[in-house]
């Protein structure tokens, strides 16, 4: 197992390198650069600004300097957020995105799995239809509608929860976590329900029943493990996406995470920040996939590490 982890980790380095290369060169294809936004600058000043950030060097040399920096854990300065380096920005923002994301995924997994099981076991009853309705709402209504509506109702109208912001109190977490969790609850419950229904139809669940084990034991000990596999497979990448910050939720609730960097950095042509968050996200995805595969291996004995 340890060897497997080491092998996967080492194998991820070429992946990240390719990711860095593609991102780096693709970014430069977009017209403009970090300073083209100010029309008052003379060509000399523009040239100076570019030189200050090494943008006048040949592309391959800039790329090589960047990789060299990365190998020393230096991800460069942020061109637009001048008071901070890229590592500082990610370091300050990520814990917040991580907290919101982890809570959201935890809530989504627990509620989603429970609802999915309930729907599967009570097929075509009012329980099942209610679960399906929740799923439809969560999947159909976008976050940027649910968020502000919840914010208006619970924050402004009822005054139960803060409208926005991020403080120490747990009350700041409720609305963003629930908003972010809802689409995942919807998807996970559908996934779990479908998977559960399929598993309940298998021959080995029939055998468990034939052994007179009782419905509860049959479900918990025999059906659940197999039914969870597709959900686990989904949770890995979904968690990666969620913990790196949903820009919509962070914007609506004024949460200081890293979600906005993904979009703003690209729009502002803040090259080092784009590279930094992309590599960061890539690493998280790789790590999440590795975790998923390990959990899958724990659940499914047919999977082996070779």
């Amino acid at each position: 197992m340890f060897q497997y982890v080491v092998r996967r980790t080492l194998g991820s380095i070429p992946t990240l390198f390719v990711l860095a290369a593609i991102t780096f060169f693709m970014m430069r294809v977009a017209p403009g650069d970090p300073f083209s936004g100010n029309r008052r600058l003379t060509p000399e000043v523009l040239a100076n600004l570019r030189r200050a950030f090494n943008l006048d060097l040949p592309l391959w040399e800039q790329f090589w300097r960047y990789i060299w920096g990365v190998l020393h854990f230096d991800f460069g300065p942020s061109i637009k957020n001048r008071d901070y380096s890229v590592s500082e920005l990610i370091g300050i923002g990520f814990p917040t995105s991580l907290e919101v994301g982890m809570w959201a995924m935890l809530v989504a997994a627990i509620i989603g799995i429970a609802l999915g099981i309930a729907g599967a076991l009570r097929r075509n009853t009012s329980v099942d239809y209610s679960v399906g309705a929740i799923a439809m709402v969560g999947l159909a209504i976008p976050i940027f509608v649910i968020g502000p509506v919840a914010q208006s109702y619970f924050g402004l109208h009822l005054r139960w929860l803060p409208i926005s912001g991020w403080g120490d109190s747990w009350t700041y977490r409720i609305l963003p976590v629930l908003t972010l969790a809802l689409p995942n609850i919807a998807y996970i419950s559908r996934l779990m329900r479908g998977s559960m229904i399929e598993i309940m139809r298998t021959n080995y669940v029939r055998t468990a029943r034939a052994k007179g084990l009782g419905e509860r034991r049959t479900i918990l000990r025999h059906a659940l493990k197999g039914a969870l596999l597709p959900v686990v497979a989904y949770l890995g990448p979904a968690t990666a996406i969620t913990i790196t910050g949903s820009i919509v939720v962070e914007q609506i609730f004024s949460i200081p995470g890293i979600g906005r960097y993904f979009v703003d950095a690209a729009i502002n042509r803040d090259y080092p920040l784009v590279m930094g968050v992309t590599l960061f996200y890539g690493s998280i995805v790789i790590f999440a996939n590795l975790l998923t595969d390990i959990v899958r291996g724990l659940l499914d004995p047919k999977v082996s590490y070779e």
């Binding site: 100010n38 029309r39 000043v45 957020n81 502000p148 912001g165 914007q251």
Partner: protein, 532 residues
């Protein structure tokens, strides 16, 4: 040696900082103002920051030679009096007695000089240098900023003694006082900059000279300022604490305002202006800003070199419909290039006053005269940013051109940098254009469009240049404005541009706040405000 001195000073500043922080603890009857700040801060470095909302903070914590009053007019700031030479090229500022930095260090004239030099220094990589090279032309500034000269002494800003700042200009700039404020001309506290480098503006290190001092900066969340006891005018500063909240989402800000958690918002979502006005009345502030919107033609590319084509396209537009019916959101219809400025006799582009039928007929006539018609359709593309209001302008113009003249107009809506890059490439035909003036006066707009300024329009006009030059050497504002209006008239008559509107400056201001005065440049210093 300096370091030892410095550490002594830091101890004093530490004590003062402690005192300030102690003051910052909630005390009985402490008045707190919360202001919205829009998107996240780029930088609080006074010589580098460039965004308007960063400017609010800087305006509170730093003070320039002059200070804008609530209406945006320059009044004495760090400088108590000043003299301007007869030829308008030399400004001599006399600083007040007893000015101090927030850490107790005396504030001297050289600090202002250091600030300018740092702004211009290529090593700082600041985009604000153009203020001293193009908005006003300080002697030697362009050469220093461009890197041809490396001697700070060659720049025409000097401090002959601790209380005197002298500025030498290459050409007269009667409006100079409008820019010698905290946004463009903040002083630099050299010791802390040399000790901490780029970190010198972090709350634990920062040294300021304004009415407020920065005590907290939580990235993406908020910035907290408290009243500075070392400010010369501290007695008249009424608000004890200002919290600038970052709220990227305007709708969230409105909710915070309604809940009483944000006293002044940064903007108002355009689709909510009517509803909010109905609910909050005069707490809704919508006024013209210093941004003018217009369509530009690339007159170096046929057929836009033909004035008849340009006039036809201008006349085919129903500007009132575009601005007042489609865009709305507080945009103010403007048939002149310069934003509305008090006492400025704004010329209007000729076709604005024409009755609709006559205007449309003339447009079609000119279009045909220029050789276009159903068998020779003019095809063009409009480069626009994907900002909502701008997209609406471009798309409506395209529709109107199609309906009135049969022109095939395509709109390229793209992100900001691509949009500007399209302009710089020079391959554009029609540009959905804008200009943000450096201050609320005609000079800054007309300086930009001066053919010699080479902003990228490629046009010539000896009349413009003559009127403009004469205006710049005219001290009297009324006279100067008349001459500037002549220059603007020359611009409008060429139909190089089709002026459309000035962008709004919008804010919700809680009625418990007094001291807020609407002004186009958007100066709203907290030191003039008070709350109930």
């Amino acid at each position: 040696m300096m370091l030892a001195n410095y550490s002594a000073r830091m101890t004093i500043s530490g004590m003062i900082l402690a005192a300030i922080v102690a003051l910052a603890q909630p005390a009985a009857a402490e008045s707190v103002l919360t202001r919205g700040m829009g998107s996240t801060i780029g930088t609080l470095d006074p010589q580098i920051n460039f965004l308007a909302y960063e400017g609010f903070i800087l305006d509170d914590i730093y003070e320039g030679l002059v200070s804008p009053d609530p209406a945006g007019e320059p009044v004495p700031g760090a400088a108590e009096t000043w003299d301007i030479s007869d030829d308008g090229l030399t400004y001599t500022f006399h600083l007040r007695d007893g000015l101090k930095w927030s850490n107790g260090d005396p504030l001297v004239a050289q600090d202002f000089v250091n600030g300018v030099i740092r702004t211009l220094d290529p090593a700082t990589a600041s985009d604000k240098g153009y203020i001293f090279t193009s908005t006003i032309s300080v002697v030697g500034a362009a050469a220093f900023n461009g890197g041809e000269s490396t001697d700070p002494a060659s720049v025409g800003v000097s401090a002959p003694d601790d209380k005197t700042v002298v500025i030498q200009l290459e050409k007269p700039a009667p409006y100079a006082l409008y820019i010698l404020n905290s946004f463009y001309f903040p002083p630099l506290h050299k010791p802390s900059f040399e000790a901490f480098g780029g970190d010198f503006i972090k709350p634990e290190n920062i040294v300021t000279n304004g009415a407020y001092h920065l005590i907290e900066n939580v990235p993406q969340s908020h910035v907290t300022l408290v009243k500075s006891p070392t400010y010369w005018g501290a007695d008249s500063v009424k608000i004890d604490k200002v919290i600038y909240q970052i709220t990227e989402d305007d709708n969230t800000a409105v909710k915070l305002f309604k809940a009483g958690e944000q006293d002044i918002t940064y903007d108002i979502p355009s689709d909510q202006i009517e509803a909010l006005t109905a609910e909050f009345g005069d707490q809704v502030h919508v006024t013209s800003s210093t941004e003018t919107n217009y369509l530009s033609f690339n007159i170096t590319k046929p057929p836009f070199d033909d004035i008849r084509v340009r006039q036809a396209l201008a006349m085919a537009l129903d500007r009132d419909a575009i601005i007042n019916k489609v865009v709305k959101g507080g945009y103010v219809l403007n048939c002149g290039y310069v934003i509305p400025v008090p006492n400025y006799p704004q010329p209007q582009q000729a076709d604005c006053a024409m009755p609709k039928d006559e205007r449309v007929a003339k447009a079609q006539e000119l279009y045909a005269e220029a050789g276009f018609g159903p068998d020779n359709v003019l095809a063009l593309s409009i480069e626009s940013s994907n900002n909502d209001a701008y997209k609406k302008i471009a798309e409506t113009a395209a529709v109107m051109w199609k309906q009135t003249l049969g022109v095939e107009a395509k709109v390229n809506a793209q992100d900001r940098d691509s949009w500007l890059a399209a302009f710089n490439d020079g391959n554009w035909q029609v540009f959905n254009d804008n200009l943000v003036g450096d201050f609320a006066g005609p000079e800054t707009f007309l300086a930009y469009m001066d053919p010699r300024a080479e902003a990228g329009y490629g046009w010539q006009s000896p009349e413009y240049e003559a009127a403009y030059d004469k205006a710049m050497s005219t001290e009297d504002q009324a006279e100067r404005y008349k001459l500037l209006a002549e220059a603007e008239r020359a611009l409008l008559d060429t139909y190089l541009v089709i002026p459309l509107s000035s962008s709004p400056s919008r804010a919700l201001v809680n009625s418990r706040v007094s001291g807020w005065v609407d002004n186009p440049a958007g100066w709203h210093s907290t030191k003039y405000m008070s709350v109930q």
